[in-house]
Symmetry: C2
Subunit: 222 residues, 2 copies
Amino acid sequence: MNQHLQPVISTASSRIYETLRRDLVGGRFAAGEKLAINALKEHYHVGLSPLREALNKLAAYGLLIQENQRGFRVPTLSRSELDDIANMRLELEGMAFERAIQHGDDIWEAELLAAAHRLKRADLSLEKGEEWEVLHSQFHRTLVAPCGSVWLLRFIEQLHDQFDRYRRLGPKMPTVRQTLDGQHHELVELALQRDSKAARALMDDHIHKSYQVALKRYQEHA
Amino acid sequence: MNQHLQPVISTASSRIYETLRRDLVGGRFAAGEKLAINALKEHYHVGLSPLREALNKLAAYGLLIQENQRGFRVPTLSRSELDDIANMRLELEGMAFERAIQHGDDIWEAELLAAAHRLKRADLSLEKGEEWEVLHSQFHRTLVAPCGSVWLLRFIEQLHDQFDRYRRLGPKMPTVRQTLDGQHHELVELALQRDSKAARALMDDHIHKSYQVALKRYQEHA
DNA sequence: GTCAGTTAAAAAATCGATTATTATGTATAA
DNA sequence: TTATACATAATAATCGATTTTTTAACTGAC
């Protein structure tokens, strides 16, 4: 029998990890905030052990700071760290995109088109909520997926989560960002044309514009 | 009173994390091995909770694989992953070294000389044990320390740990690696001369030679 | 009023035991 | 034999309670 048809049992620990990760990236905790473990336990309806295991993982991942004998806190935000993250995205995603264009096959092309389409549909519906966020990161993941380096992908993922802590500051995406959304389509175009030079240039520009958005939000945040 | 003079109390969790990290990097577990939590508990004389928290952190860090409802196992080794890790080291450490040479001040120069000297002393005593390993990673950390990017340093650290899983396979460093050790000195030279171009070239060569060593060990390992 | 020292409350870390899941072994039927 | 269902053992995950440490509140001396 196909084991994949059986319901996939996940642990409480992995579920709360994913929930907390989303909430941290989505800005539902204040930067620098100290996490009250008992409150979290109640709020998310989980036991202490799975919760602590999730917090430990998040700390190792970089979405929490763990302090000796005094629990966990949300990392603070700073202009210099935002610059760092954006610069690293420029380097790593540019590199990954170039490689993906070299190695990606026609299945990748299809997935790219599909991911871009799904994202655009979400755009049009103007609901830039959690759904858009998911499709957006899936799109960017797809762009670089066939780069050939597991570790590169891992680092990029991590940087995206960090970057989004800045980009998603403040109220929920009220601004229209026509330019950025339009670039998603262009990125696919250049990828299909296998024009890695132009593709990287556009990726650089895309990240730079995203950076501008994130920076603005960070500055308006204070 | 200066609080730094008080003894630093660390948690059982952070201690066992560091111990396990060293043992995983040092190859005291077989690749692919399933970790018997009860056995670990006994062997390291720790309770279940701190142990599990450490294992969770190590999984998030990439030194363990966590499988749904079936505990933790040591990641397997593969030629393709070794290549990936070495390539990423080339890119990231090269980048970081260049930046460090641009930003590093005279304090850095002093620390570089010190770190290189300590490493050389350990070399001469021919005891390439754990002590040499510590000095060696400290030396490499120092080389890139003032690169200006916290995230870059973080990724490099992670890659080093992964790389060492291959480099340190098999018996404890019986081979004499005159060339590699000599390059450490040359790297410092070029850094002091602020010759970032030549420095990066040498760093590339150094990593490539390290890769050859690791590859050989990996192949002899089977 | 301020500050060191003390005590009480809160929180973090850990422990011991329980529950849930997977892996193993065995008997039975095809 | 081979496969399948069932029972059993082993292990992972989680819970509830305890211990340890930190933080906050309090006290009294200067």
